[in-house]
């Protein structure tokens, strides 16, 4: 029961801090922070089952989050009929070719009759022929699609379905990519896995930045449909105006808080569901087996456990959760901006969350996600305050002072680094150690 | 007082005690052999004497100095040389470089020592610019011994030098070890080939569960019926 006190205290501190932000900055800011805190917590949960349950170091979180973001675009954006009629068929054909190539490769790989070298040659040949066809069919189509009103569309659009579906699709897509990369890298040493996942993440982002026909690239996709009401429609609806008048709330601010609250409740639902599932999984025989494998691979292997298969399982699961969180983030922001995916922000910050919260502890991931995101946002005003204070002897127009004040926001990286180093050194088990 | 005197050693890893009032001593020019069943703490005794294991109790005197609390590197400086059982050479380096690394602290006699080692192990001279992973097991053991000799040790400690080498090579290695001891170097070794080792030994220690069971001249132990029956396979 001791643990409960500790959990209660730590979470209370967080909510008190959030309350202070609401009170002194604004409630809008506080809820905006809180929403992303929840998403961060979900990402941290996903990463935590990889590192905490199985000891897998995934440095490609950014990529899986971006896949989720792409899913949000493809599911929710209305289809662009003009571009589809121009190049939709060719693109579909290319998709079929890719599917065919993947199928042939898998088939070739499982046919044990052929020698290793023949198998590899055939696989390479299949891929090269496939690439040739894709280039031949796809390139002209892509050029035409991208040339169509590039300032407004220039891409195929999506399926025009409710954006909530993308949460599931994003998770499935991220899981599929995790399966591919896991097949290759799991079973190798853990730092190879880290570098390979770093690579897959970067590669995914290059694709998203450059394949304009799919994502509009760096031109971004804006104004994705929302799962919750719009502020303007609230402000115009009669019941809402009456509601605000009755309690004397400011109309505009209240509407945006209500919208954020709607998001919060959606996100919280997901968080609670996932958290409960993970807690059950952790205490189930499956979870015990995972931890047994993590703690002693040699003896687990000796007991006949298929470690690589278990690792792939958990790698897929964790990455799918990150994909889900990525889709949620794009849903919340209402736009998809490939250049926003920076490894420091997406991959390594999530790592800080998991480690600070306590690897292997789901409560830890949640509080880690909450606290670190809170600090990440609040580091900016805080850093500014410190810089202004330190440089206050200098005159207002001093160029050094101006320069430092200008760069003060980057102190957040310094803070993340220090936080990670200090926790790793002095309290490596984090806020909530495993099992507590 | 013997040249090396390790008395009443008590120690182990963590909670488990492996050495239990174990006493080992060697004199200059002598060969002392530690034998005993698997898990008797033979290698642990060696590691303890060399300072790679912290003792809970006991004292180690070397050349009339108390070295109980010295680090392994400091013991090398005082004149102790150690050949571990495994990983006892630098695999990616050449024979010559291995010897040079052995003499890292002892620069002034380096060339002379290398010549001495080459005359002791002529094959190494031939293979001096080859890397260790190209050498046979016996040759690697020779390099390992040579590396330890580079520091001009007054006491050379060998942990199972003949493990995993062919019988012919075992014989040759024991010959070389006798040769080294005849130069006035004290030799302490742990051996699986107990009979052959005791045959060249001046002194033998039979360890059982970290305790001295028998301590006698090598030849007497070989004759001792109980020892033969229990430890030497009849």
């Amino acid at each position: 029961m001791n643990y409960w006190n500790r959990r209660f205290t730590v979470f209370s501190i967080f909510f008190a801090a959030l309350f202070l932000v609401g009170f002194f900055q604004s409630w809008n800011v506080a809820f905006a922070i809180f929403n992303i805190c929840i998403i961060s917590a979900i990402m941290a949960l996903g990463v935590n089952i990889q590192v905490g349950y199985a000891g897998i170091f995934n440095a490609g979180i950014m990529g899986f989050a971006a896949i989720g973001g792409l899913a949000a675009v493809l599911i929710s954006h209305p289809p662009v009929t003009e571009t589809i009629s121009i190049g939709g068929f060719s693109i579909l054909l290319c998709g079929l070719i890719i599917g065919l190539v993947v199928a042939i490769c898998i088939l070739l790989n499982t046919r044990i009759l052929l020698s290793k070298i023949t198998r590899r040659l055939l696989i390479s040949l299949t891929i090269i022929i496939g690439l040739f066809f894709i280039n031949f069919i796809g390139s002209p189509a892509v050029e035409q699609i991208e040339a169509f009103e590039p300032a407004a569309t220039g891409f195929l659009g999506g399926f025009g379905m409710p954006i909530i579906f993308s949460w599931i699709i994003g998770a499935i897509a991220a899981g599929f990519v995790a399966w591919l990369i896991g097949k290759i890298t799991l079973g190798l040493r853990s730092d190879y896995l880290a570098i390979a996942t770093l690579g897959i993440a970067e590669t995914i982002i290059y694709v998203l930045k450059n394949e304009d026909w799919l994502t509009r690239g760096v031109k971004n996709v804006n104004a994705l449909p929302r799962p919750v009401p719009y502020e303007l429609s609230l402000q115009e609806s009669k019941w809402f105006i009456e509601f605000c008048e009755r309690y004397q709330f400011p109309l505009v601010e209240t509407s945006s808080i209500i919208v954020k609250l709607c998001y919060s409740s959606l996100f919280l639902t997901v968080l609670i569901v996932l958290f409960s599932l993970f807690e059950i999984a952790l205490k189930s025989p499956w979870g015990r087996m995972m931890r047994a494998i993590r703690d002693n691979e040699v003896s687990a292997r000796a007991m006949g456990k298929n470690i690589k298969a278990r690792h792939i399982e958990i790698f897929i699961l964790g990455s799918a959760v990150v994909g889900l969180a990525g889709a949620m983030l794009t849903t919340l922001e209402g736009q998809f901006t490939p250049i926003a995916y920076q490894p420091l922000r997406f991959t390594f910050t999530v790592w800080v969350m998991v480690i600070i919260g306590g690897t292997g502890n789901n409560y830890g991931s949640i509080i880690g996600g909450f606290l670190v995101w809170f600090l990440w946002v609040e580091a900016e005003p805080f850093g500014l305050f410190i810089v202004e204070f330190v440089t206050s002897p200098l005159s207002e127009t001093n160029s050094l002072r101006a320069h430092l004040i200008n760069n003060a926001a980057h102190m957040r990286y310094v803070m993340m680094g220090l936080l990670l180093l200090l926790v790793l050194r002095f309290s490596p088990k984090g806020i909530f150690p495993e099992g507590k | 007082m013997a040249f090396l005197n390790a008395t009443e050693m008590l120690g182990g890893y963590g909670e488990t005690t492996i050495l239990n009032s174990c006493t080992i001593s060697v004199n200059k020019g002598e060969i002392a052999v530690i034998v005993g069943p698997n898990g008797a703490g033979k290698s642990t005794a060696m590691r303890a004497i060399f300072g790679m294991l912290r003792l809970k109790k006991g004292q180690i005197m070397f050349d009339n100095q108390d070295i109980t609390n010295l680090k392994p590197q400091e013991r090398v400086g005082l004149g102790m040389g150690f050949v571990p059982q495994t990983n006892n050479v630098f695999n990616s380096m050449t024979v010559l470089e291995n010897l040079e690394m052995g003499g890292f602290l002892n620069n002034k006699d380096k060339d002379k020592n290398i010549q001495d080692i080459f005359s002791l192990f002529p094959i190494l001279h031939e293979k001096r610019s080859q890397t260790l992973n190209e050498l046979s097991g016996g040759q690697r053991q020779q390099v390992a011994v040579g590396r330890a000799l580079m520091t001009n040790p007054k006491l050379l400690m060998l942990d199972e030098p003949t493990a995993g080498v062919s019988p012919i090579v075992v014989k040759e290695l024991f010959q070389k070890i006798t040769e080294i001891s005849s130069k006035g170097i004290a030799i302490l070794m742990v051996e699986q080939n107990a009979k052959q080792a005791l045959a060249i030994a001046n002194k033998g220690f039979v360890l059982v569960q970290g305790e001295n069971k028998y301590t006698d001249k090598g030849s007497s132990l070989l004759k001792n019926k109980e020892v033969r029956k229990a430890f030497l396979g009849g």
Binding site: G199, I200 | F104, R147
Partner: protein, 336 residues
């Protein structure tokens, strides 16, 4: 004649830039591989160390320029590289003292040290952005070309030609000099050999009386120096961007793994293989084929395997292939 034109195109667009970029990667990969071999962890902060050294060099170059320093036709920055090296090495030593030495003495799992290096990466990235800002900085004030494409064309009378930028010649020359010095150091000096011995078998190195602290110190001195040179040469040749160094981790690590982690010669060669493959795969061969094929076969399309934007992805593809086929790399690594 046409063949010479094709060759000139390939030299200008693949060979020279490939060797230049390869040199920059090789210097980075050498640092990564040395740290791996001696300190036994993958240093994710290496890109930021490169960035840090470069930033110091830029700051001193600005200071020097304001006092009227210049280095005739060479970039002024070269004068200040030694100072930058000293700062970067000092920074490495401070980091070692306060962060890495703790995990080394604990014999922590390499992955824990790797996570600590991510903390260092954050910290360094933040300091850099705080001090010099996140924007691009161009600091090359030397003469641009040793000879330009036009000089070459005028000289030979060919339709196509290749030029050599001062920074390209400098990069390749300095890299060769540094790498050869490093290999000589590792193979022929007592300290260098002791580093190899330590990397090969730590316990035996200790038994031989090799001082671990000295080995670690020398490793950081070398890694910090190489990182500074790599960063400065990259910045001179292209432009200094604080964001680029995290992206460069991928090709650098790919080069190190391709060559065999912990193997300096492997890292050196790996750097060039990665760089040349990037350019070979993303180069548009249309003009080259126009020269060597008969006219009726000349291609209409760009004849490009991958769009130039996917340059960095190439190193990932190579990495994946290496991991599938031969995870130990070309020269099976792990020790120096």
């Amino acid at each position: 004649m046409d063949y010479f034109n094709a060759l000139a195109l390939i030299i200008n667009f693949i060979v020279i830039p490939g060797l230049t970029y390869g040199s920059q990667l090789a210097l980075g990969a050498l640092g990564v591989t040395l740290i791996y071999a001696v300190l036994r962890f993958s240093n994710f902060a290496h890109g930021e160390l490169m960035s840090f050294g470069t930033m110091i060099c830029i700051l001193f170059t600005w200071l020097g320029q304001s006092y009227g320093f210049s280095f005739s036709f060479l970039p002024t920055a070269l004068l200040f590289v030694p100072i930058a090296v000293i700062f970067c090495v000092l920074y490495c030593i401070v980091i070692e003292k306060f962060v890495f030495s703790f995990y080394r003495k604990q014999k922590a799992d390499p992955i824990i040290t790797l996570i600590a290096s991510i903390g260092v990466m954050f910290l360094t990235a933040g300091l850099i952005r705080f001090i010099i800002g996140p924007g691009d900085q161009s600091f090359n004030d030397g003469v641009r070309f040793i000879f330009s494409v036009r000089d070459f064309k005028n000289f030979t009378g060919l339709e196509q030609g290749f030029g050599l930028k001062t920074t390209q010649a400098l990069t390749i020359g300095i890299t060769l000099f540094l790498s050869i010095s490093l290999f000589w150091f590792l193979n022929s000096t007592k300290t260098g050999k002791s580093m190899r011995a330590f990397s090969d078998n730590e316990e035996l190195a200790l038994l031989s009386g090799i001082d671990p602290n000295k080995v670690v110190l020398v490793t950081w001195i070398i890694a910090g120096s190489l990182a500074t040179f790599a960063g400065v040469l990259y910045g001179l040749d292209k432009i200094y961007k604080p964001f680029i160094f995290l992206q460069m981790l991928l090709p650098i690590f790919s080069a190190a793994i391709l060559g065999g982690v912990g193997n300096p010669i492997g890292a050196f060669i790996g750097g060039y293989i990665i760089a040349l493959s990037e350019l070979i795969v993303t180069f548009a061969y249309k003009r080259v084929l126009g020269y060597i094929l008969p006219e009726n076969l000349a291609p209409d399309s760009m004849m490009q395997f991958l769009a130039t934007d996917y340059k960095y992805a190439v190193s990932f593809i190579i990495l994946v292939i290496v991991l599938i086929i031969r995870p130990t790399g070309i020269f099976s690594g792990k020790t120096i």
